[in-house]
Symmetry: D2
C-alpha cells in the first residue's frame, strides 16, 4: 500500500476544502491511501508523516507567503530534517488566495524550497492550463495557469462556495498525479549521494 | 526635467503596446518625459539610459521567465554595472503572458533582481487589485493581482486586441507611479554606502 | 526628524545583534532616528511603525524561509494593509543563517514581496560584494554576495561571536543606506496611483 | 539503458567543467549513460533530449539570472512543450558565479520553473551542506549551502582552476543522485493527469 499524507493549514475553510479535493484525487488511484493532517496535528502524527511515501503541503497565501501556522509547521520540520526522515520522499504543494496571481507563486516557491531542504523530489502540477480564447473558460483545468503546484482563486468576501468547480477538479488532478508518481517511485530507497 | 526610460522586448506586439501604455502614464505627470527603448537599441542608446532618473523594464514571459532577447540586454548591462552607472536610480518592471499566473511572478523577480544588482531602488505596482466579488470584474485595475510590478494577460491566440482595457489602464498607472516617484526622488545623489 | 523602524525576530540572538548593527548604521546619518522593534512588540507599537519613514524587516532563515514568529507579524500586517498605512514608505530587509547560500534569497524575496503588497518602495543592499581573489576575504563588505538585502552567515554551533566583523559592517551599511534614502525620499506623500 | 542528458551553456569554461563533473557522476552509476549537450547543439540534438530519461540543465549566473544563451535554449523548448515531449521526465539544475550567494538561487528557480512548465519532476541536490564550525571547510560537499540544485563559486578573475575540488565533488554527487533517481523512476509512463 502506497500512502500520501496531505499536510495543510486552513484559515477560513478554503484550503481545507481544497485539501479534501487533493485527497479524493489521491484515493482515486488504486493501491494508494490518503491521510489529511492539519498542521496543528503534525507533531502528534509525526509517525504518519515519516511513514508516508509522499507529502503534499498546502497553505493559504497571506500577504504574499505561507501563513504563520504553516510556517510554524515548517520550523518544526527541522527535527525531521535532522533525522533525514523525509529524504527522497515525493513532495508537492498547493495554495489559494483571493486574486489571480496574488503572489501565490511565492508561496509555492517557499513550499518547494522546504521540500528541497529535506532532500525530497518535487512533483509539479503537470497541466498546461488554458491559454487560447476557445479554452479560456472557468471550466478549464488549471485555469489560474500554475506550474510548480496547484493554485485556486476565491473572492475575498466568499467562503468555500466561491471556489470554482474547475479549481476543485484541478486539485483532484494534483492528488492523482502525486499518487501515480508515488506508486511508480515506490519504496526502494535511493542510495545516499555522499 | 525628470526622465524615465522604458526598456522592453516585444515578441508579438503585446509588450510593445503595454510599454506604450506605461509611457503615456509617465508623460501624464507634469515635468516628466518618457522614452521608449526596444532592447535591440539599448547599446546604441546607452547614454539615454545612463541619463534617465528611472528605468522601467518590460519582457514577455516565455516558458516561465524573461525572453532570450531581454536576457541578452540583461547580460549587456554588466558593462553599466561595472561603471556603477545605474546605482540609486529608480526601477520598475512589467510582463505579460497568456495565462493568469503563468509564472509571471518569476519574470518580475528576475527583473527586480537585475535592478538590485545595479543598486537601484525598486518601485512596485502599488495597487491593491480586486479581491471581492463586487469588484472582481474585468474593469478592475490590477485585475491579475500583481504586487512587484505590472502583469497583463492575453489569450495565446490573440494579438494586442486580446489585452483588456483595464490592463492598459493598470500599465498607465505604473508609469504614473514611477514618474511621480522619480520627481520626488529627484536628482541629488545618494552618498555611496561604503 | 526622519525615522526608521527596524522590525525583527531573533531566535538565538544573531538577528538581534545584526538588527542593532543596522540601527547603528541608521543613527550614523544626521537627522535620522532608529527604533528597534522585536516582532512580539509590533502590535503594541503599531503607531511607531505607522509614523516611521522607512521600515527595515529582519528574520532568520529557518528551513529556507522566514521564521514562524516573523510570519505571524507578516500576517498581522494585513490590518495595516487594509488601512493603506505603509503605502509609499521605504522598505528593506536582512536575514542570517548557518550556510553561505542556505536559501537566504528565498527569505529576502518573501520580505520584499510583503513590502510590495503594502505598496512600499524597496531599497536593496547596493554593495557589489567581493568577487576577485584579491578581494575575496572575510574582511569584504557583502562577503556573502547579496543584492536584495543584507545576508549574514554564522556557523550553526556558534552564537553571536560566530558572525564576522565584516557582516556587522555590511549590516551597518544597509542601515546607513536606508537612512540616507529616507532623508532623500522625505515625507511628501506620493499621489495615489488610481 | 537509462540515459541522462546534461544541457548547459558555458561562457568562460567554468560551467563546461562543472557539466563534465556532473556527467562523471552520472556515469558512475551502473546502467546509466550521460551525454553532454551544449545549448548551441540542442536543436540539432533534439532527438537525444526527447529520448533521455532525465535532463540536467546548467547555466552560469549573469546579473542574477540565467545567461542569454541559456535563455535562448529555454525559449526554443516551447516546441518540445507543445509536443509534451518532456512530460514526466526527471530534471535537475546547476549554476556557478563569482560570489557565495550572488543570486544563484534565482537562476536555479528559473531553471526549476522551466522544468515545471514541461511537467517534469524535480530532483534537488539532497546534500545538507556544512553548517558547523568543525565542518565548515572548503572540503565540505555542498559548501555553498544550496538545496534546489548545485552551486559552485569561483572568483571573478579566475578560470576553471578557481573552482574548489569540493565543488567538483558536489556536482558529481548531483549527477549520481539524478542517475540513481532515473534508474528508479525507470521508463514506465505516468498516466496523464487529465
Amino acid at each position: 500500500m502506497t500512502s500520501v499524507a496531505i499536510v495543510y493549514h486552513s484559515g477560513f475553510g478554503h484550503t481545507k476544502a481544497l485539501a479534501e479535493a487533493v485527497a479524493s484525487g489521491v484515493q482515486a488511484v488504486p493501491g494508494v491511501r490518503a491521510s489529511l493532517i492539519p498542521v496543528a496535528e503534525a507533531e502528534a502524527r509525526a509517525a504518519e508523516l515519516d511513514a508516508a511515501d509522499a507529502l503534499i503541503f498546502g497553505s493559504p497565501t497571506y500577504m504574499g507567503s505561507i501563513s504563520a501556522e504553516f510556517a510554524a509547521f515548517k520550523d518544526w520540520t527541522s527535527k525531521r530534517w535532522m533525522a533525514g526522515a523525509w529524504k527522497n520522499k515525493l513532495a508537492a504543494g498547493f495554495t489559494s488566495s483571493a486574486q489571480w496571481s496574488g503572489d501565490k507563486q511565492n508561496t509555492l516557491m517557499q513550499i518547494m524550497t522546504l521540500a528541497m531542504q529535506h532532500g525530497m523530489v518535487w512533483v509539479g502540477l503537470g497541466l498546461p492550463g488554458g491559454y487560447s480564447s476557445s479554452k479560456g473558460s472557468i471550466e478549464d483545468l488549471n485555469r489560474v495557469g500554475a506550474s510548480i503546484g496547484a493554485m485556486a482563486q476565491a473572492n475575498g468576501d466568499q467562503g468555500v462556495e466561491g471556489i470554482a468547480a474547475s479549481d476543485f477538479r484541478t486539485f483532484e488532478a494534483l492528488g492523482r498525479r502525486v499518487a501515480e508518481a508515488a506508486s511508480r517511485w515506490q519504496s526502494q530507497p535511493l542510495a545516499q549521494a555522499a
